[in-house]
């Protein structure tokens, strides 16, 4: 399997503050990978490194097996929708499409036209007067009509209302269904990602906390609740991600590959959001727990 994005010891420093550090990560190609983490976790930094808008201070990053943004050919393979979907306010929708056609050798004019028609964008309207949802749709159109092999989206729906958010993700899903493309999508809301992603990367405080396929994450995590018990006395196949204790009761979120058979526990399945929140609270980058599915 090819690799969409591979980072090794990747770090980015602004002044004395590391926005991202020690980030080692592989995003397999052919997936819709979600990058999740709280605000300030380094998501934007990681994605901007991935599209070459900024340079790493430490480590290395390769996208689709090549150095980032080094050549026009590499730039052509990666589509990017930046946070807040920047567009030229004084340029019309048609101008933006012409810009995309002029700057991208693999530009798919028919796809761009069809999408604009479907969204109902007035080609003569200036981008500055579009609604937030329309802006995001136009930005997505520019990125996908480029016919990239990897589509990178930085919180594309963060500023959209729920309806526009659903329409945007719908459009994204249609595109990934019709074309062979890898997607790396960030959000601070797990709910956005749950619907569209099959791979999840959790970033917190500049470190990768968790990385794996969504199905495996869901299959390998359970919530146990029962009489109070010391978590050190669990079987070695069960790793504790998060634990809370009251006087009488213990609630644990564990990771295990085997079924839990202890009758003292009530075993529940957990949602992706539960898993993400549990890992988010853990100390930075516990190496034993980062990778799932190997």
């Amino acid at each position: 399997m090819t690799v969409a994005l591979a980072a090794r010891g990747l770090g980015k420093r602004y002044g004395r503050r590391w926005a991202l550090s020690g980030c080692t990560l592989e995003v397999p190609a052919g997936h819709v990978a979600g990058l999740v983490g709280p605000n300030g976790a380094g998501k934007t930094t990681l994605l901007q490194l991935a599209v070459g808008l900024i340079e790493p201070s430490a480590g290395s990053i390769a996208v689709l097996g090549e150095e980032v943004a080094a050549t026009p050919a590499q730039l052509a393979r990666v589509g990017f929708v930046a946070q807040d979907t920047p567009l030229y306010a004084s340029l019309s929708v048609a101008d933006h499409l012409r810009l995309g056609a002029a700057l991208n050798p693999r530009w798919d004019a028919a796809l761009a036209q069809a999408r604009c028609a479907r969204i109902g964008l007035d080609r003569a309207q200036r981008a500055g007067t579009l609604s937030g949802g329309q802006r995001a749709q136009l930005a997505l159109t520019l990125a996908i009509a480029k016919r990239p092999e990897l589509l990178v989206l930085d919180e594309p729906v963060a500023s959209l209302d729920p309806l526009a958010r659903r329409e945007f993700l719908q459009a994204l899903m249609e595109f990934t269904a019709e074309h062979t493309v890898s997607v790396l999508l960030s959000s601070h809301l797990v709910a956005d990602l749950e619907r569209v992603c099959d791979h999840l990367i959790l970033l917190a405080e500049g470190h990768v906390q968790l990385s794996g396929e969504v199905d495996e994450l869901l299959a390998s995590h359970r919530r146990l609740s029962g009489p109070r018990r010391d978590s050190a006395r669990l079987p070695s196949s069960q790793q504790v991600v998060e634990e809370t204790h009251t006087d009488r009761q213990s609630t644990l979120l564990i990771r295990t590959k085997e079924p839990v058979i202890d009758p003292a526990w009530t075993v529940e399945e957990v949602s992706l959001e539960d898993i993400v929140l549990a890992y988010m609270g853990r100390p930075a980058g516990d190496p034993e727990l980062v990778k799932v599915g190997q």
């Binding site: 901007q48 026009p72 730039l75 990017f80 500023s159």
Partner: protein, 367 residues
């Protein structure tokens, strides 16, 4: 990319074109009127030794003579501030660099093409404006014969093109370094003014080796005597040479050797003792300068003529024929500096431009 560069430049280009057309109409209408007035009064007459006479037209030097030159001086600075400085920061400030630089074009190429289009336009604008102003002033310059005067030299000919190129390049470079429009505009203005002053004072006088010519002492300007409590000496400025640029004048003896203050004092004491001792030697009053008029006029002139048998003025100057070589050289130097700035900026662009992550205004995120 050329279409993209043009589309982003279009509004500014059209505004500037409008201003330039208005400027051209003003210059052509008043310039033709100026020529009419001159010819109706008998025109300009030049004798073989370049001394020209023209009818005096009262009020002709107002107000355009004092407006057109400064306008031409301001144009390069304005081009640098409004075309050069915002070129990169405006993208960063609006966040659109994240759109532009993730298309299938390298950042260097993107910057090169935009800079080439806007930069060449800046040269054309400055060239046209300078041509208009030079044409307007031609009849006046033919009379004034002061083409090397700094305010005249820099407001005619080709140098404005060099200035415009340099100011534009400085704008692009400071904009790319500061990544913010307003500081870049301020830095461009200050840097451009500093470069122009430094060039006028320090570089232009040494661009070409000067020629030398001997003049009689009496031809000098501001000839006089300077006395202080211990000695008295002679001072003289270079004479007026039509359309030439007199750089300096040195007092030399008949053997063409320059004289130091002590020797001048001795000579003065020998040739005109009345003046050497006659200057008020006020202790503590500093230097006193005496010129014709303040001393008994007869004494002064007698002394001057007596001195001119011993002293001459060795004048270093640029002849009129050096005007276009100096214009071309100054234009070329400013353009070369512009190219160097642009080259360094484009070369460094891939690395430096976007050090910070998108500083775009963040919309409030719904919870």
């Amino acid at each position: 990319m050329i279409w993209v560069a043009w589309r982003q430049f279009r509004t500014q280009a059209l505004i500037t074109l409008g201003l330039l057309v208005a400027f051209a109409v003003l210059v052509l209408v008043t310039g033709l009127h100026l020529r009419d007035v001159y010819s109706s009064l008998g025109g300009i007459h030049c004798s073989p030794d370049e001394a020209c006479t023209a009818p005096h037209v009262p009020g002709l030097d107002k107000p355009l003579t004092s407006l057109l030159g400064p306008t031409l001086l301001a144009i390069p600075a304005l081009l640098g501030m409004f075309w050069g400085a915002p070129l990169v920061p405006r993208e960063l400030e609006s966040g659109t660099h994240r759109l532009a630089w993730t298309q299938s074009i390298t950042r260097r190429r993107w910057l090169s093409i935009r800079v080439a289009l806007v930069g060449v336009s800046a040269l054309v604008v400055a060239g046209l404006a300078s041509w208009l102003v030079s044409w307007w002033f031609a009849p006046l310059d033919a009379v004034n014969l002061n083409r090397f005067d700094p305010s005249v030299f820099t407001e005619r000919g080709t140098v404005a093109i060099g200035y415009a190129g340099f100011a534009f390049a400085l704008g692009v470079a400071t904009g790319t370094l500061t990544r913010r429009t307003l500081p870049a505009m301020a830095a461009t203005l200050l840097g451009f003014i500093a470069a122009r002053i430094a060039f006028t004072l320090l570089v232009r006088p040494h661009l070409l080796a000067s020629r030398h010519v001997l003049y009689a002492l009496t031809r000098g300007q501001d000839v006089g005597f300077v006395g202080n409590p211990t000695s008295t000496t002679i001072v003289a400025g270079p004479p007026m040479i039509p359309n030439a640029w007199a750089l300096s004048a040195v007092l030399v003896d008949r053997a063409h050797h320059s004289l130091n203050p002590a020797q001048l004092h001795d000579l003065l004491a020998r040739v005109c003792p009345a003046i050497a001792t006659g200057l008020p030697a006020n202790p503590g009053a500093g230097a006193t300068k005496t010129q014709a008029g303040s001393l008994a006029g007869g004494d002064f002139l007698t002394c001057l003529h007596a001195l001119s048998r011993h002293l001459q003025l060795l004048v270093a100057y640029q002849p009129s024929s050096r005007y276009w070589p100096l214009q071309a050289l100054e234009t070329a130097i400013f353009l070369a500096a512009a190219l160097a700035l642009i080259g360094a900026t484009v070369w460094g662009a891939g690395r430096r431009i976007a050090r910070k992550p998108a500083a775009a205004p963040r919309a409030a995120h719904p919870a």
